[in-house]
């Protein structure tokens, strides 16, 4: 029995539905971090999917759509996907950014805002860096438990002879931006450990990205046009 067979059988039983509750839960968790298993599951969903054509349809009760629409209209956070939260908040943030863009000019504008904390949730925070009023340029996520930050360039053009630089500013540390290093505009993701900043600082800090001469700011402070963002808690 090869390893591939083992994965395919596990994925096949998952899709077939014959795993018990504990096994299902384990596979559900593993598929999120094991691409080979996730791909094997998707392959079985495609292979066996045609069988659903042979299941007689049944009319759901009247009024179910209205109940669903109520539920999606008033999200409670429960089961909310991080992507959705991000997307919705991106839009809200865009409006703020448009309003603020006149003020932003060449400054790192500091807006620190911490939403109500929900302690039972995983503490992941997201910030959206706005290049202009149409598309986010960078997405930043912070996992507060591990204090690992990652920045993803979404629509940031690499600028010849320039570098993007990431900053953190905290009132608790005097409010002046401190460099967190340069960001590769091309790479998928830049990660930084924030171990030297404690949790309370990270949680309330404001992050900024500025466009600097190649190699970073010569002064140790942001000198070029900056994008600014606040951290927003997401539910997962």
């Amino acid at each position: 029995m090869t390893e591939r067979d083992d994965i395919d059988v596990l994925a096949g039983e998952y899709v077939l539905g014959t795993l018990d509750a504990a096994e299902r839960a384990a596979v559900s968790a593993r598929r999120l971090r094991e691409p080979a298993l996730a791909a094997a599951i998707e392959a079985w969903e495609r292979r066996l999917g045609p069988l659903t054509e042979t299941v007689p349809p049944a009319a759901p009760p009247e009024g179910l759509l209205a109940r669903i629409e109520t539920r999606i209209g008033a999200p409670t956070g429960e089961g909310m996907q991080r992507f959705l939260a991000l997307e919705r908040r991106t839009r809200r943030w865009r409006r703020v950014a448009i309003a603020a863009s006149a003020l932003a000019a060449c400054l790192l504008v500091v807006i620190g805002l911490r939403e109500l904390s929900r302690p039972q949730m995983a503490k992941t925070y997201v910030a959206v860096f706005q290049k202009d009023d149409t598309s986010p340029a960078f997405l930043l996520t912070v996992d507060l438990d591990t204090r690992v930050l990652s920045v993803q360039a979404v629509a940031a053009e690499p600028q010849p002879g320039k570098s993007y630089q990431l900053w953190i500013a905290s009132d608790k540390q005097g409010g002046a931006p401190q460099s967190l290093g340069l960001i590769e505009a091309k790479s998928e993701s830049t990660r930084r450990a924030l171990a030297k900043y404690d949790r309370a600082i990270v949680e309330r800090a404001t992050f900024g990205i500025s466009l600097e001469p190649a190699g970073g700011s010569p002064t140790g402070r942001p000198t070029g046009p900056a994008f600014h963002a606040r951290l927003i808690e997401t539910t997962r």
Partner: protein, 202 residues
């Protein structure tokens, strides 16, 4: 595409092609994109086009309308939330949606006490074997192909696969039904799955 309705597969688990999604796959893809863009009208249209199929799927597994009602709501909430993650290159929209529905229903049914043989699928008597021309030739061909591969399995093993997939029967319930220990069912499943995989990749 001649013999639709009747199929040479075992009795209680015989195939019956069903009235399902009337929208074409292309329409569903367009709707999915609009749903991903938070278009509520598109979401309502998607629900209208697909809810009978998904309800049929979850009801078949859960066998109780009250539970199926709740699960179907959760399924569509998930579809709304995850629409942005739908990848047209990986699966047809209905395949993706059906996978969400089956997963949710299976999670639910596995959390509960396994159904005994007395509560077997016939209890709900859902079947309505009306033959119906499929709108999507492509899907039909996939089903034809799957059927050919299923027919190569021994009949007991084929029935196990179908009862598991469509009725959501657990290994224990299947063991009862076929008078075998669950471990035997597990080894049947293992062989059947590998055989199916290899047959479908030919």
């Amino acid at each position: 595409m001649g013999e639709r309705g009747e199929v040479p597969l075992a009795g209680t688990t015989g195939f019956a092609l069903s009235k399902s999604v009337n929208a074409t796959a292309g329409t569903l893809v367009a709707l999915m994109h609009r749903v991903a863009a938070r278009d509520r009208q598109a979401f309502a249209a998607l629900y209208t086009a697909t809810s009978a199929k998904l309800y049929g799927i979850v009801l078949r597994i859960l066998q109780r309308r009250d539970i199926a009602d709740e699960v179907l709501q959760e399924v569509y909430v998930q579809i709304w939330e995850r629409a942005g993650l739908y990848d047209v290159t990986k699966a047809a929209p209905i395949t993706w949606m059906a996978a969400i529905a089956r997963n949710r229903a299976l999670d639910e049914v596995r959390r509960k006490k396994p159904l005994s043989i007395e509560d077997a699928p016939e209890a709900l008597n859902l079947a309505s074997d009306e033959a119906h021309p499929l709108d999507r030739m492509e899907q039909s061909e996939q089903l034809q192909r799957l059927r050919q591969c299923l027919e190569r399995l021994e009949s007991d093993r084929r029935e196990v696969v179908l009862l598991a997939y469509r009725e959501g029967m657990s290994r224990e319930a299947l063991g009862q039904r076929f008078a075998r220990p669950p471990a035997t069912i597990k080894s049947w499943l293992r062989r059947s799955l590998l055989q199916l995989r290899d047959c479908l990749s030919q």
